[in-house]
């Protein structure tokens, strides 16, 4: 069967842009051919706190090819925050090189522009900075006295947790730690920016085109109409490309200064210091339950750091508000200023980290109650979101857990920790529940129909992005379905701010929003055709085009959430099962197999959807076993500074990952029944692995990542 001749959604067709990618024809931000292009290299601070007292640019400026050295002394004045501790969003301004102050190690303190990349890089090393250094706040423990409630506060409570705990037969009070992590998409952040006399044009690797244009316009205080952003292909973002970062501003600033287009690529090392991070979180969970497993109380208090000049809070406690039925619940988030760069949304922000804490704690509680952890979760299921009283549009969590248990062979799980072995390996099984908001947002699209050789060809245009997830493919399938034409007759054009506005890729809303936007455009096109055709027996798109005597037609449509959506809580759900083998002596362990069961609406393309969940599981495993950025305790730089030090899992770490989708079409979520899957895959995977390690060894690991060293030194807790 030639899958690519299939029509419509639901078919596992190959990626429509796959051939372009594997042949190098798909152009990423830094690959566009632009005339008169020059290259810029950012310079990073080598202290974590203080101010610049002198800058010597003479040697750098004297190098062949060097066109400009920009520092705070000669940088153009940009928009400034109107208050300290500005809450960061995806459209925040990005002022850079505006003062002599240094807020963290690696902050941009300069930029060299040269005719070639090599010249810029070399000259950047020759700019000499003198600093007046101050003692930086780089210690998490020592910063605790400075914790504050964020401006956009997100505390929540219902009932009374203290009373709920007092009613409980069994209680738990534990703290879970996740380290600083970095997004690290494979494609480095990059821009080719042309100021172009105020007609700004940027090829930039961004997840959200429209927001990037806003940031550029607001930072330079120009009209957004004069900003064009293009990002047709994005090699991953994981949240780091949601907003335009300082390098986007730097490149345009340089282009304005020298009146030539400027390419600026953020190096892998700079991806640690200049494109945000996920901060270290300490999450304290308290649970109370009756001896039959009924929850009486649940609280989740998160302490995180942010920079000394911006606020970002990861809503780790969100998951605790809605996942289980309990009358008494409270959630708090607190921030501490530290001399580290600002954090920002990363890979299922809130859920990925929050679910590690909650789903580890639920496992601990099940053990204390002497209950099966699946039975304990099912016991506390709710079909109504307890945080707002709205029914879930659909919630098949229990079904995910039950089906997963059957498929995984949960009945073979060792009943007691550290009771099953294979040679020198201790064997353990772990489970966790996953939930992730499935947002659906207002999205516009344009479709252009052409009648050629007795067939209809369609071009879809929207400013949506494909961040490697398969947007091009599912949109081609959507247009094919709604216009009832073969998928090969559909051309999808994305990632250009000249196209209709979408919310961009992020927060797992892309597929639902984009596809419904495309649907709305197609429906509008068919309606226009029918109007123009008048009385006709024609039904197919081709026949309608002919009846309307049209060779081309353009139509725009907009889809947005309806009242039904707003009256419900819309989430995707899933369950993750892991088997680990832990060496009885050395702390070394292996993930032997993993099963992820997901219920997340209509699956538009099983092939790309499986890829997304598998990728999510690998990221979850990375979070569990390897990923961490370490702060040097005296100087405040990151000692993990390349992929040799910042470990992500390798194939050998992952063994087999199976994915099962529960068939579901959630028509409350949106007309096409689609829910997000991008971030569901990572959610709670770390807990599933840590719970399996406990089952294998009796060691309860509450501090990620689970390195051999930590497992080795950890004492057994299980009786």
């Amino acid at each position: 069967m030639n899958l690519n001749t299939s029509k419509g959604t639901g078919n596992p067709i190959d990626r429509v842009e796959g051939k372009l990618k594997v042949t190098g024809m798909a152009k990423y931000a830094s690959e566009f051919k632009v005339k008169n292009l020059v290259y810029a290299q950012g310079i990073n601070s080598t202290i974590a706190k203080g101010r610049i007292t002198a800058i010597d640019t003479a040697e750098a400026e004297a190098q062949p090819g060097v066109l400009a050295v920009i520092t705070y002394k000669n940088a153009e004045r940009l928009a400034q925050y109107d208050k300290d501790l500005h809450p960061l969003s995806t459209t925040s301004i990005q002022p850079v090189l505006q003062s002599d102050q240094v807020h963290y190690y690696g902050e941009y303190v300069g930029l060299v522009v040269a005719e070639t990349f090599e010249q810029a890089q070399y000259a950047a090393r020759l700019v000499k900075y003198t600093y007046a250094q101050e003692t930086p706040d780089i210690d998490f423990e020592a910063s605790k006295g400075k914790a504050y409630t964020p401006t956009e506060q997100s505390d929540y409570s219902r009932g009374n947790v203290a009373e709920g705990l007092a009613e409980a037969d069994v209680t738990l009070d534990e703290t879970y730690v996740t380290p600083i992590e970095h997004h690290h998409p494979m494609e480095l952040h990059a821009i080719i920016g042309s100021w172009n006399g105020g007609n700004v044009q940027a090829y930039a690797s961004q997840q959200m085109i429209d927001n990037a244009a806003t940031t550029i316009a607001d930072t330079f205080q120009i009209d957004k109409k004069n900003v064009r952003v293009m990002s047709p292909y994005v090699g991953g973002g994981f949240g780091s490309k949601l907003a335009a970062k300082q390098h986007v501003i730097l490149a345009l600033m340089a282009s304005k200064a020298i009146n030539r287009p400027v390419q600026l690529t953020v190096s892998r090392n700079q991806m640690f210091t200049n494109t945000n991070l996920r901060q270290r979180n300490e999450q304290r969970i308290k649970i109370g339950a009756k001896s039959d497993g009924t929850l009486t109380a649940l609280s989740h208090d998160t302490l995180s750091h942010t920079s000394t000049y911006e606020q970002y809070q990861e809503a780790c406690g969100t998951v605790t508000k809605m996942l289980y039925k309990t009358p008494n619940n409270s959630v708090t988030h607190r921030l501490m200023p530290m001399n580290l760069q600002s954090p920002f949304a990363m890979r299922a922000p809130g859920e990925a980290t929050g679910s590690f804490a909650l789903e580890s704690a639920m496992d601990e509680m099940a053990f204390k109650l002497n209950m099966d952890p699946i039975a304990f979760r099912i016991k506390n299921d709710t079909q109504v979101d307890p945080s707002n009283g709205k029914p879930f549009s659909s919630r098949l969590l229990n079904e995910c857990l039950r089906l997963g248990a059957k498929e995984f062979g949960w009945e073979n799980r060792p009943q007691k920790p550290a009771s099953k072995s294979e040679g020198n390996w201790l064997v353990g099984y772990g489970v966790s529940a996953a939930s992730r908001r499935a947002p659906y947002m207002k999205t516009s699209a344009k479709v252009i129909l052409e009648l050629k050789n007795d067939a209809v060809w369609a071009t879809l245009q929207m400013d949506a992005t494909d961040i490697g997830t398969g947007s091009y493919t599912i949109l081609a399938q959507t247009v094919s379905e709604y216009l009832d034409i073969p998928v090969e007759q559909v051309d999808v054009e994305l990632g250009d701010s000249e196209y209709p506005v979408t919310p961009g890729s992020g927060g797992s809303w892309g597929a639902a929003s984009f596809a419904n936007g495309a649907r709305a455009a197609c429906e509008q096109a068919l309606k226009d055709l029918k109007d123009k055709a008048g009385e006709t027996a024609a039904t197919t798109t081709v026949a309608l085009m002919k009846a309307a005597q049209l060779s081309t037609l353009e139509a725009e449509g907009t889809a947005e959430p309806d009242e039904e959506y707003k009256a419900h809580s819309v989430f995707s759900f899933g369950a993750n099962f892991t088997e680990v083998w832990v060496d009885k002596d050395t702390g070394v362990f292996r993930i032997k197999r993993m099963l992820n069961v997901a219920s997340c609406g209509k699956i538009l393309n099983p092939k790309t959807a499986f890829g997304q969940i598998i990728g999510g599981c690998v990221m979850g495993a990375g979070m569990a076993i390897a990923e961490r950025t370490e702060v040097e305790p005296n100087f405040g730089n990151f000692i993990t500074r390349s992929f040799a030090d910042y470990h992500v899992p390798v194939n050998l770490d992952m063994a087999n990952i199976d994915v099962v989708y529960l068939p579901e079409e959630d028509k409350i979520a949106n007309k096409m029944g689609i829910k997000g899957i991008g971030e569901l895959g990572i959610t709670s995977v770390a807990a599933s692995i840590a719970n399996a390690v406990f089952n294998a060894t009796g060691k309860r690991m509450r501090d990620l990542p689970l390195t051999p060293e930590k497992i080795f030194v950890k004492k057994e807790e299980a009786a």
């Binding site: 090599e118 002596d585 050395t586 040097e632 005296n634 000692i639 390798v650 060293e709």
Partner: protein, 330 residues
């Protein structure tokens, strides 16, 4: 990267001549470490002399009944060579645990011996590091030192040597053949090749300026039946060892008649466990004796603030490696 001269040597003589002509020259093998360090501005040679294309890329029999490993041979082609696999399976196993297939394809045997430490203070040019910049201090001594040495360190440097291959070569008691700039040749025992930091941590080894490694000589085939290389690391490939153990045993008449034992990731050089080796000779290959040997091996460990775990982990690792070696079927 800073500008540098680049010379492709076709013969040893050309390489030796070039190294004397050029200021601040370095030999370039596969470039898997040196080029990285140049990009990081840690290494700043003014000339690179490529020696990866010299004709010493062969593996041949030597006079003592062992093998000569050409310095220009790639790590992958060495580890996968049928005679190396047959005669020195311990070496093959250790080499294949290193880095990634891609890096092993590029890296040369000579270059492997000259790998520099992975200490983060060495890599970050704004940090103090006596190895990179003598006299600037050791940032790791009172800093982030969970990965650092427990043997043989000095207040000047607590870095470890990162190679897996070298741990096996230490256990096998190889020798290193070196060509000197005056045209003569000398041989260095493997245990004397790398050095301890002392007050000169900038010197990783005992090579004199301009000397070129041409070969590694292996003694007669050893430990073809009982061998194991255990590498404890944070992920299953492409990670340096937290610590590693190379063990080879010869057992005759129920007692150990020969043993080679060395550790990686614990010192400025591959760490030969001589006391443990001596203890095991003439003993039965039992877990109890392995535990005694392991205790002896770690007896003179000196830990830093964050790496005390390496002592008990090292003991477990040695016992496990010896057990695996002994139980291994040829």
């Amino acid at each position: 990267m800073r500008p540098f001269n680049y010379i492709e040597a076709k013969t040893k003589q050309q390489a030796l001549a070039a190294v004397q002509e050029q200021e601040h020259a370095k030999y370039l093998g596969g470039g898997t470490n040196l080029v990285d360090l140049m990009k990081e501005d840690v290494e700043r040679p003014e000339a690179l002399i490529k020696v990866a294309d010299l004709d010493n890329d062969t593996i041949t029999s030597n006079a003592v009944g062992g093998l000569t490993l050409g310095a220009a041979r790639s790590n992958a082609a060495t580890a996968n060579h049928p005679e190396v696999r047959k005669q020195y399976p311990l070496l093959s196993m250790a080499m294949l645990s290193a880095a990634t297939a891609q890096i092993r394809n590029m890296a040369t045997n000579g270059g492997n011996l000259l790998q520099r430490t992975r200490c983060p203070y060495f890599f970050e040019t704004s940090m103090p590091c006596n190895k990179r910049e003598p006299g600037s201090g050791c940032g790791a001594l009172d800093g982030a030192n969970a990965q650092h040495a427990i043997f043989g360190w000095s207040k000047s440097c607590v870095a470890t040597h990162p190679s897996d291959m070298c741990v096996a070569l230490a256990a096998l008691e190889a020798t290193v053949t070196v060509q000197t700039p005056d045209g003569s040749e000398r041989t260095i025992d493997f245990s004397d090749f790398h050095r301890l930091p002392g007050k000169q941590p900038e010197l990783d080894n005992t090579l004199e300026p301009g000397e070129l490694i041409t070969a590694i000589e292996l003694p007669k085939p050893q430990f073809t039946q009982h061998y194991h290389y255990l590498k404890i690391r944070e992920r299953s490939s492409y990670a340096f060892a937290i610590l590693s153990v190379a063990a080879g045993l010869k057992v005759r008449g129920g007692v150990v008649t020969d043993v080679g034992l060395a550790m990686g990731g614990v010192a400025h050089k591959p760490w030969k466990l001589t006391a443990a080796e001596d203890y095991l000779i003439g003993k039965e290959p039992t877990t109890k004796n392995f535990e005694e040997a392991a205790q002896l091996a770690l007896a003179d460990a000196r830990t830093l603030e964050h790496n005390a775990y390496k002592v008990p982990m090292g003991i477990k690792a040695i016992v496990r490696t010896l057990e695996q070696a002994y139980s291994k079927e040829a």
